[in-house]
């Protein structure tokens, strides 16, 4: 949370010595609040004041990075409570649990299955971000072996979930260049694990029973030299967790409360896949930075990933596809030509129905600034002139021999005008994309 000029003034020496080049400390404070000067210009500022000012300029929720390279997971650094206020910045990671009690074969199979959990949706690649290896056996050798196997079997980011510092240390030695997240499974071992996190410069998740305890632990861990911290709250009560996540985010954003200004980690507790899904969806919606799940079935993970995609979508920027001609199937000179907007959901819905019709078809996406058909029409971004212009410039005239275009049923009012300005024959298609297969199959 940014400090006001007056807040800063209170921290300055108030001697008006002018060494900073300003007439008064207050003038300097005002300039500092507007970020016009740097604090270094005042040679007299005390160490405590410096610390207070520097911490106030930090983001209220710490950015935590797990892993390295292109697919590293970055979470935290959020700035709002509600996505409509601006947006949620760093999509929550979805992690999959692997226990070290699995046999070698089971483990290999599970890792292979997790690796395959990537999907393409509305033109974006989405997938799970992490594998969390849990020391369920309590045995050091088993844990280290499992870590080795997972690390060699997967390029995903890793988390080490154990309360045994020796097991963690040995694992870290093996996979240190992966920059795994260390999750402290035993509160009593927090100090030891914090030292390891520092030594290997890895992020650390503390486990606490309450917010009070969490604040205590982050304070302690921070003093041991760990900067990137996550918080895991141990409670079986889903609504209590959501309440606590809300409290944490609010304290960090509104009160600049550093000790809870870290991304949160949530393990699902539910024992049936349906409730586990519902639980995980709730955490993604309500402020978790990383959700670790047990179920790794494709039809379980996919909707969860799409929830994350939706919630973290920038409200100001609808996902768009490139405005151009798309060819679905083996198109010929006689293939029908459909026109729609370039709002990605609109395009992909239409494209998917065209595909299922098995009728090779051209789809022309009109640049509607990412609006759906009706919205774009109302905002005059999807007009007869625009479509006519597209027919002229897109190159479709060379691709088909006919001159007939199908427009969405919702904008049937455009047909007269469009025929007039384009010279093309206009057919009115169905209102809903679901009507497209029937429409195309009987299209002449």
């Amino acid at each position: 949370m940014a400090l006001s000029g007056l807040d800063i003034y209170k921290l300055l020496p108030k001697t008006n010595c002018k060494e900073c080049g300003f007439a008064t400390c207050l003038a300097f404070a005002m300039a500092l609040a507007q970020k016009k000067v740097s604090l270094d210009k005042c040679p007299k500022v005390t160490a405590t004041a410096r610390e207070a000012l520097e911490s106030a300029s930090q983001p209220p929720i710490k950015l935590v990075t797990i892993g390295k390279g292109e697919d590293k997971l970055e979470i935290g650094n959020e700035t709002v409570m509600y996505r409509h206020e601006q947006k949620f910045f760093h999509p929550a990671g979805i992690g999959c649990l692997v226990e070290d009690t699995l046999s070698d074969n089971e483990l290999t199979a599970r890792v292979a299955k997790i690796n395959a959990l990537t999907f393409e949706r509305v033109g974006q690649k989405i997938g799970v971000s992490l594998i969390c290896i849990k020391n369920s056996s309590g045995d050091k050798t088993k844990f280290v072996n499992a870590v080795k196997k997972v690390a060699s079997g997967s390029n995903l980011n890793l988390a080490l979930y154990s309360g045994n510092p020796e097991a963690v240390k040995e694992s870290l030695t093996i996979i240190k260049d992966r920059r795994p997240l260390i999750i402290c499974a035993d509160k009593a071992k927090t100090d030891d694990l914090a030292r390891l996190a520092k030594e290997f410069s890895a992020p650390l998740a503390i486990t606490a029973a309450s917010l009070d305890e969490a604040a205590e632990l982050t304070d302690k861990v921070k003093k041991l030299g760990v900067d990137e911290i996550m918080i895991d709250l141990k409670t079986d009560d889903v609504s209590k967790r959501i309440q606590d996540f809300t409290f944490m985010r609010r304290l960090a954003l509104k009160k600049n409360f550093r000790l809870l200004g870290y991304p949160v980690l949530a393990f699902t507790g539910s024992n049936t896949p349906d409730l586990e899904l519902a639980e995980a969806v709730s955490y993604v919606a309500k402020y978790a930075g990383l959700v670790i799940v047990k179920n790794i079935e494709k039809e379980f993970i996919f909707p969860l990933l799409v929830v994350r995609q939706d919630i973290y979508q920038d409200p100001q920027k609808p996902v768009q596809v490139e405005p151009k001609i798309y060819e679905i199937g083996k198109v010929t000179k006689d293939s029908p030509v459909l026109v729609t907007t370039n709002f990605s959901i609109t395009y992909f819905t239409v494209a998917c129905e065209v595909e299922s019709s098995k009728v090779p078809t051209y789809i022309i996406c009109c640049d509607s600034e990412g609006m759906s058909v009706l919205t774009a029409w109302a905002a005059e971004k999807f007009t007869a002139e625009k479509i006519a212009n597209l027919l002229k410039t897109s190159g479709i005239t060379e691709m088909v021999g006919h001159r007939k275009i199908v427009i969405p049923g919702y904008v049937s009012v455009l047909s007269g005008k469009l025929e007039e300005v384009s010279g093309w024959k206009v057919a009115v298609g169905p209102r809903e994309a679901s009507g497209i297969p029937n429409y195309l199959r009987s299209y002449k």
Partner: protein, 282 residues
């Protein structure tokens, strides 16, 4: 280290709406906090899941699901879908009502003309049962509002993902003498992956405005999750995935402030009912 919480306390509250009579009466709304934040306010009535059936379908499976309300969509009255006359529909509804004994949510076919012809007759036939009827829109609310007013039913008011239109429509309907505590808002439903986030944020904005005292946005939310989800490719591709798609959409809507969720798949509905039990346990 004792942490001092910042609790949001609002002055406003969501209206409580009763659907049905007597022992079977179901209350929705009434909350004074965002979903499930029990340390900041109350949710006196837990969110309700209602299964949706078509008027021509057998309601047995839906009833077996154990919901406290049943939603009947009069799809068959659509001119392109059978054009069923009012008296036949009323007869089917009578059978369904008798069988389930639950208060009904009755939704038209979406064809304004046909809905305006059939719904008033249906409303009259169930006069005094205190059902919930839909759907009133900005361009077509008068007939339905007048008939619900006369027959003692509540109404669903729908807006196209637009908080201003939602408010405007609530004002228009209350201006006809309708009790604001008999209106349920439908902010439009979109499935997960098809713009769900727009609805999610419109609901959060509406809720916050209501808590800050906007009486014309203090109505509970209904979402027709089932019909939207089962239109999607993801649901059509695989039933297991579709069930999860419906669960994930319903839960997201509950987290945004949904009070009444209409669902299609009995397994998905049961899961979400269990989820509600789980999060309402204090």
């Amino acid at each position: 280290m004792p942490v001092e919480f910042v609790k949001e306390k609002y002055n406003g509250a969501i209206n409580t709406i009763e659907i049905g009579n007597g022992a079977k009466c179901v209350k929705i709304g009434g909350e004074t906090t965002l979903p499930f934040l029990f340390e900041e306010g109350a949710m006196p009535n837990q969110p309700v899941i209602a299964l949706e059936v078509l008027d021509t379908e057998s309601p047995d499976q839906a009833i077996a699901c154990g919901g406290r309300l049943l939603c009947v969509r009069l799809a068959s009255i659509h001119p392109d879908n059978g054009n069923r006359p009012a008296d036949e529909v009323i007869a089917s509804l009578g059978l369904i009502f008798k069988k389930c004994g639950l208060p009904l949510i009755i939704v038209g076919c979406g064809d304004a003309e046909k809905d305006n012809e059939v719904l008033p007759k249906v409303s009259q036939a169930f006069k005094g049962e205190n059902f919930l009827f839909g759907i009133a829109t900005q361009n077509n609310y008068k007939t339905l509002a007048a008939t619900c007013l006369a027959d003692g039913h509540s109404i669903v008011a729908e807006s196209p993902i637009d908080i201003n239109i939602a408010k405007q429509l609530n004002i228009l309907i209350t201006d006809m003498g309708f009790d604001p505590a008999r209106i349920v808002m439908h902010p439009t439903t979109t499935s997960l992956g098809y713009g769900m986030e727009y609805v999610y944020s419109i609901m959060e904005r509406g809720r916050l405005a209501a808590f800050l005292g906007d009486k014309m946005l203090s109505m509970p939310f209904v979402l027709f999750v089932g019909q939207e989800v089962w239109k999607t490719k993801e649901a059509k591709d695989s039933i297991a995935q579709g069930v999860n798609w419906e669960i994930a959409t319903a839960v997201s809507m509950l987290q945004a402030g949904g009070d009444l969720i209409i669902m299609r798949d009995p397994a998905a509905a049961k899961s979400v009912m269990k989820y509600i039990e789980m999060v309402m346990k204090k």
